[in-house]
């Protein structure tokens, strides 16, 4: 595999690679596997990729533990977390940076920018950024600030040739808000579960499989 692939690729998911600078909104019910899906999309494919989490639903340590359990390589020079949960704590060893509240979008934005620069400076030419999930921001912060934050995040990812994967629970926000937030993204990946079978569908991204594609996280 070349170290300078023009795209971000996804292993063991029915998703083709996407161009650098792409921002994807991942939607699905919180208990339906959207967390695993988001994590898998953030798996580093080679050592010169970095991964940056913005954790709002679960704290930084748990995020990293789950990532490692799914096969994520914890190289803390190139992997880090902005922890936006209420009880988040700094952890220098694990590159976790606490903000203190999902309502503090200024703090989250500053920690994100700072961590992104450092991961980049540590040799990650490509950085995958994951937000799990946007829902607490929508619930705790004013809508204007959420839009400003989402634009800031996706704008930086776009100009820095990164990949953005932001999860949101559609049951936690109203449809109008969801569709307004979706405006900031290049495309969407929807996850659903019917009769015990999980499937994903891609919208808005070119060159992707059409219709619902079964996914099986346990077997992967």
């Amino acid at each position: 595999m070349s170290l300078q692939e023009p795209t971000y690729t996804f292993e063991s998911l029915p998703l083709r690679g996407v161009e650098t600078g792409t921002n994807i909104l991942v939607t699905g019910p919180a208990l339906g596997g959207v967390r695993e899906l988001t994590m898998r999309m953030l798996l580093r494919r080679h050592s010169r990729e970095g991964t940056l989490f913005i954790a709002a639903d679960v704290d930084g340590r748990e995020t990293l533990a789950d990532y490692e359990a799914l096969g994520g390589d914890l190289d803390f020079a190139r992997v880090g977390v902005v922890d936006c949960t209420e009880n988040g704590a700094d952890d220098g060893e694990c590159n976790v940076h606490a903000v203190g509240s999902p309502a503090d979008l200024t703090g989250a934005g500053i920690e994100f920018s700072s961590l992104y620069e450092r991961i980049h400076a540590n040799g990650a030419t490509r950085v995958r950024t994951g937000v799990y999930t946007l829902s607490p921001f929508v619930v705790y912060a004013p809508a204007k600030s959420v839009f400003r934050f989402v634009h800031t995040l996706t704008g930086r990812i776009r100009t820095a040739d990164g990949l953005g994967v932001c999860a949101i629970d559609p049951d936690a926000v109203d449809d109008q808000t969801l569709s307004s937030i979706a405006q900031a993204f290049d495309g969407q990946v929807e996850l659903r579960e019917v009769d015990g079978q999980r499937a994903i569908r891609v919208r808005g991204l070119s060159d992707q499989p059409e219709g619902w594609q079964p996914v099986d996280f346990d077997a992967a």
Binding site: D90, H97, S101, A103, D104, L105, T106, G107, G109, I110, E111, S113, S114, E117, A121, V138, A141, P142, A143, K144, S145, F147, R148, F149, H151, T152, G155, R156, R158, T159, V173, D174, Q176, T177, S179, S180, I181, Q183, A184
Partner: protein, 314 residues
Amino acid sequence: MRELTVLCVDADGDERAATCDSLAADGEVAVTTADSVAAAADTLSRAAVDCVVTDYDLPDGTGLDVAARIRETAPDTPCILFTDAPPDRIDTADREGVVVEYLPRDMPEARDALARMVGNLVDQRTQVGYPLPTREDERLAALEQYDRPGMEAAESFDRLTALAREYFDVDVAFVGLIDAHEERFLACAGASWETLTREDSMCTHTILRDDLMVVEDTHDDDRFADNDRLDELGIRAYAGVPLETPRGATIGAFCLTHDEPRGFEADELADLRRFAAEAMDQLELRRQLNECEDARDAADHAGTGTGDDGGDAP
């Protein structure tokens, strides 16, 4: 490319000069400077800027105080904290919603990165507090053809909105055009609104849609529940139809608002669409008239240019 104006706020004269020099290096950026929150506020009250670059530590406050100031006056303006202060030392209390970019000044080639960031943030409108339509640039180009001086004076829009207000028995009926940073009211029956920033305007959401937007109770909608400006204006219920040009660009909306929650019946909404269609026809006719006048002026000009009549040559 048009010249950008950047406000650079830094108390340290040498750092400030170095930042100004690097921003102005390519000749497309004009820089104004300030050395404190108060001086920055003073500059912002006198002139518009396209971007703010500020240190965190200032003699009378912080860079986030400057950011908070610009969020009040010109909220779309991108703001960059360009500072040696590490994130841990930045106090975001009472500033949780301003959202700025952050660039450490001590990283290698920081000032080159800063100049690029200023251009990107302004071009991509990265810090706006509302969703942007997918083809916003085309939309703004289309708006320019319709939005001509004197449009506010057109009485037909006053008549239409006055009729709509009576007909639907609502507080306010208006025609609004949405430009790059604010909604401007061509006519507004029942209130004297002139402009509203886009992040406060409900129509900024209406123009994302193919069809009308109805909000029966703003307090019950995540997009508007925490928007204090709407409460100040007495907007609790809203129905708006996008004004779409024949070429498919949405330039504004025809809207009704009410100070109490209320629903709108299907036949009312059908009638509201008719009002909107009438307003759009008026706008289209005026655009065509302007186009004809421009063409005639150009022809006249070409005429004088040949020296044939010399009638209105200066």
